[in-house]
Symmetry: D2
Subunit: 383 residues, 4 copies
């Protein structure tokens, strides 16, 4: 409603501005009995954090997460998990020129027009810094999904006009983290770095896209029609800052394909159940998952904060002026967005698994409604 | 949650199966004081209804809507509006072969797998027939938007490989309804009809896409980040049956464009307010509307119900079999989806306008919280 | 949000006005595989319907329900169940005197003040006629609860100053429906009828209350704190028209009781699990059900529509006038509210059971996530 | 859904356990442009905090709030406000005896039965310590309501059998904070202290109740039926730990009053608008506010944590044992619950005012949808 919540049963609530005091996220609906340590969350935050390479902002944030609640003796208790990430290297001063003179194509103007004011340091609430909260929440969702052998993975498949060849899920697992651009094809990664380098040197930036895929998502997720799996995944991906396109399965190419070519015959799987021959449907039929991998692409426009000179207007002085957004900005977004896409996948899949009864909403490892006296990780004897 | 609701303050709740007794939709949150007649809704349903031309299903449904509540003396009362559309030409018998032998790439299997059963006549709940409810609700939303000079329009911009040139909003208004394919460029419409005809004659079907655009959407709509305008619009469009891609602004092409090229300088508009020079941002910056037109594209895969022979399996008998889906099916989806896209735009925009205080949620034509004794359309004197 | 929805996973959405064309209710989230016939719903509506005795309104409504969707071959399909109840004996004409002259203490003025207009026939949307929708939805919830041996029961325990002695759950089951006042103690029922008769003869009306109790509600329902079992049950009961108090357990009397007297020791039950000795806690501890019966009371003020002369003002003419509300009105509310209270209990309990994983949200009789080829009530062989 | 959220447009999300690291609350939907300082929140927290007198727990918590986001230059920005209150004096050790041996009538068992585990220090999540979050959020809501001249006030009107006489709103404002029991009648306060003292000395505790009242709540709030003002207020109050009854207007007494006696004639107010003669309706008619004060009572049972010896069972050892809950516990709840009731009133009223268009959801001091270049508290010139 107010834009800071995602999920129905596994619900994430966030706060924080880019150069404010701290970012915070509350996860409610996480089943009890999940083994969870600060390191599980920190590991994912480290993948997203700034300053990792030449192609990311040089802002120096440790992004160290504190967990305030919801854990007892290393296991979740089923009650809300509050997490806070302090902003350490905030330097809002350099944004003063933009307080009343909005940066081109950034959220400066729309926030001020909507609210009459805004936190103007570094984009404030509109900054992609917000996604640190999403990655923290997604890390917890991912831990739950591990129990059900559900895996998600993403990699950068295009920067500018450089497009990666198709890669397998295994290649994504193996190679994505090997290079700063997070492309699972090492040769393409090199080309992409060249492209990024070129735009960066010109004081410019460039767009790109991410391919994502899942393994082990069970059949039957999705509540057609308005809450179909594709509708909610679409919302999740289009919520990521600077995205402009969401596709699944054949995506945009589906418009040129005939029904006969796209349709998939049914056969029997090894377990005697019907399975489709092929996966042009992208794991979703009639808005509900088929059990095949869900895959697709998300597109980002180029970062709007660039050193190259542009024109804006100052609504206080009524004057036009030339501006350069000199800051610590990423020249391209997808590389750091890979963990964000994975987080949103985790959150979407787990929420549907809870809604569809695939995960006990109260606790992980006991049958619904049965009280199990043997299971008390909080008892002194267990310590 | 259960998939049959859309919107937060302007909330639509639906029911109905393709070959069930009736379709139904409840609209809650419509402000009081809107002049509303059955004909206002019927007009939009007539645009969507089957049997309009050779390229739509020959199913003969009058799609006559009854309004059960929420209107007094021709004006809405602010209470829920219940609408029912009877299914008149349901013939579920011919779907018997598919009860336990799912049609390729349709929702038959996923529904049965999820629920253990399904309404198997004509796709049941998974059928696009459901969108009759959306169009009925969208017609009411559109009437409210008329009060605020907000307009939405869509047309078919690609079928197979035939793509329409760019057209203006005015051309869309003028030409879209002139041809059965609902393409605002008359020449392209002819080509599209040829393509559709070809696939139909082969017992096959084909995909396509729709371009949409708005006028008058006010600045400041959208609640970043999870409920950004683009995220909710993405959900709305991806909820439409058979959609596989959602794009706004430069969409998928944004990946190849530099920040400098895409960024838009600010200038002052006629009213002295900042306005962007150009609209590559598609009317949305930082997840919030800028006041510029919101535009984009939605892609549909080809209809899965085709006469061409395909293979399926019967989970009762354990046998493979060859099937032909001989029914009354559309060979292409976008032409009839144009009013559906417009309906979802109406619903999305109005919901955000209510959330953002642009429309009085209780009544249309009085200041918030003021009781106006002059306004009583229900008084006997007014009759 | 807009007041016509109840429940999170088992969600009820309603429309309709007292003297409008029809009442309607959509139930979403009902698991598939529930045997459900129109008669199951009709039976409960018949308990609530008007014209049953001298102490209920003489309005003649068959309250015949139509089910439009969500059922195949006698079993629910997991998709929304649309129901409509036509208004047959609407006579709004006699309400014309009140269009601009609000009846004392009725919702006439508040609706007009809020919306600037209203459906003025018989109270329109504010009428208790709306509860016909609740009872229809509650009947379905009750059928689901039958599968889990959960029972709810209510009876009228006070009218004016006449209070019934405590009765057992079995007495409630046996005697409640035996008398028109729906009091499970036959002697008290006679006294209550006398009281009602007396007020009715004076052109007046009288208040009263209902006692409710459950059996079989499982341990562990409720999501503290804002969605504690007691908070949601409180909302449910206070939503019933004309209620002014909600109590559970010792209720209002708890203020005079010491902790030692109210606290209940723990002992071991027959199954070796801890059980409380006594039930002063009303089946809820820490906002979560203990497995003991949930019980409490709800109070109704007297009906506001009375023949006795009262004063109102006409906001059109600016004049005071004397009015008599001559219509077909109940002189007391609790007798017909008994099925309404039971419906709200059913809806509250089932919603929490779904939220807590006690009921498979997708289907009743199969393990979560397992696809069962043996279960296809919709297959031709089963017919 | 998961119990840690309240409100629709003004939404509060909480986390934290009694003896965990910290309590946290995120407020979303607070309009921009509200002058807000840490002290505004701290003032209310100080009213609720422990250790204020002999009749409150001696736990020593400064309850110092940190605000992490949502404020710029002393004004809210319209984005989520994150707040954290550290737990300083947590001593969970003394709760070890109760890890597997639940305290009588406390939430120990229900939490363990639901989740299979729990944070067992001091009641963990079930503790009334959670209400520190509610008071923090309510303080912000109260600041918004100040702009609209809406006031709420509560005082303790009964402890055990000692009941205060009726007091005026002005007396409540003047006297409530003068004595530790927070009763606006000084003489009764003395008697109440005696009663509390007596129970405390016996190692026991006692119940009580609070009377609340509003001023300035506008006409037209409430969305009948399920979201009527009374239904949502009922939920709010029954969510407060240890409450067992909610009443408004005549409350439970309404059952004995006739329609004629309770009904209120209409007359014209000073402004020429209809106003009811009297307020037996408690400010709510047909589920919607009339503009008259909303008032009612809430009952608390006695605190369950008492030194007096009681019996419990240990589910690990299978043995019964005698226990004394020796800790720092309140002997009576209402005195510290006064600010909690006021907070829940603030949250309920403001949420409805936002929903009903009485408050601009985006910003306080500008007309909906108008962009005001004069209003930029964040601009450097304003500093």
């Amino acid at each position: 409603m107010n834009g800071n919540q995602f999920g129905r049963l596994f619900r994430v609530t966030t706060y924080g501005e880019s150069h404010g005091d701290a970012m915070g996220v509350t996860v409610s609906g996480c089943p009890a009995g999940l083994e969870l340590a600060v390191e599980d969350v920190q590991r994912e935050l480290d993948r997203r954090k700034p300053g990792q390479s030449m192609i990311t902002t040089s802002r120096d944030e440790p992004d160290a997460v504190e967990i305030h609640s919801g854990i007892q003796d290393g296991y979740t208790t089923g009650t809300p998990i509050g997490m806070v990430i302090q902003n350490k290297d905030a330097r809002s001063g350099k944004y003063e020129p933009f307080v009343t003179a909005p940066r081109p194509s950034h959220g400066d103007f729309t926030y001020s027009a909507k609210f009459g004011t805004r936190n103007w340091g570094g984009g404030g609430r509109s900054s992609a810094r917000e996604t640190v909260n999403w990655v923290a929440a997604g890390a917890i969702a991912g831990k739950v999904l591990d129990h059900f052998d559900v895996e998600v993975k993403a990699h950068v498949n295009q920067i500018g006009d450089v497009r990666a060849p198709e890669v397998s899920f295994e290649e994504m697992l193996e190679h994505t983290e090997e290079n700063p651009v997070r492309c699972a094809d090492p040769d393409t990664a090199e080309e992409m770095l060249d492209v990024i380098d070129r735009y960066q040197n010109e004081g410019d930036s460039i767009g790109g896209s991410i391919y994502f895929e899942t393994r082990g998502v069970p059949r039957g997720l999705g509540a057609p029609r308005f809450d179909s799996f594709s509708a909610r995944l679409g919302q999740a991906m289009m919520a990521i800052p600077a995205t402009t396109a969401f596709e699944f399965g054949l995506g945009r190419e589906a418009r040129s394909v005939s029904g006969y070519d796209r349709n998939e015959d049914w056969t029997f799987g090894d377990d005697g159940e019907p399975v489709p021959v092929g996966n042009d449907h992208g794991g979703i039929q009639g808005g509900i998952t088929t059990g095949e991998p869900v895959y697709g692409e998300v597109t980002w426009h180029a970062p709007t904060s660039i050193p190259k000179e542009q024109t804006t207007v100052d609504w206080e002085t009524g004057e036009e002026k030339r501006v350069q957004v000199i800051g610590r900005h990423d020249p391209v977004l997808p590389p750091r967005a890979v963990p964000v896409v994975e987080a949103m996948l985790n959150l979407t899949v787990l929420d549907f698994m809870l809604l569809g009864g695939r995960v006990n909403p109260d606790r992980l490892d006991a049958a619904p409604g049965e009280y199990d006296t043997d299971y008390h990780p909080s008892s002194p004897d267990d310590e």
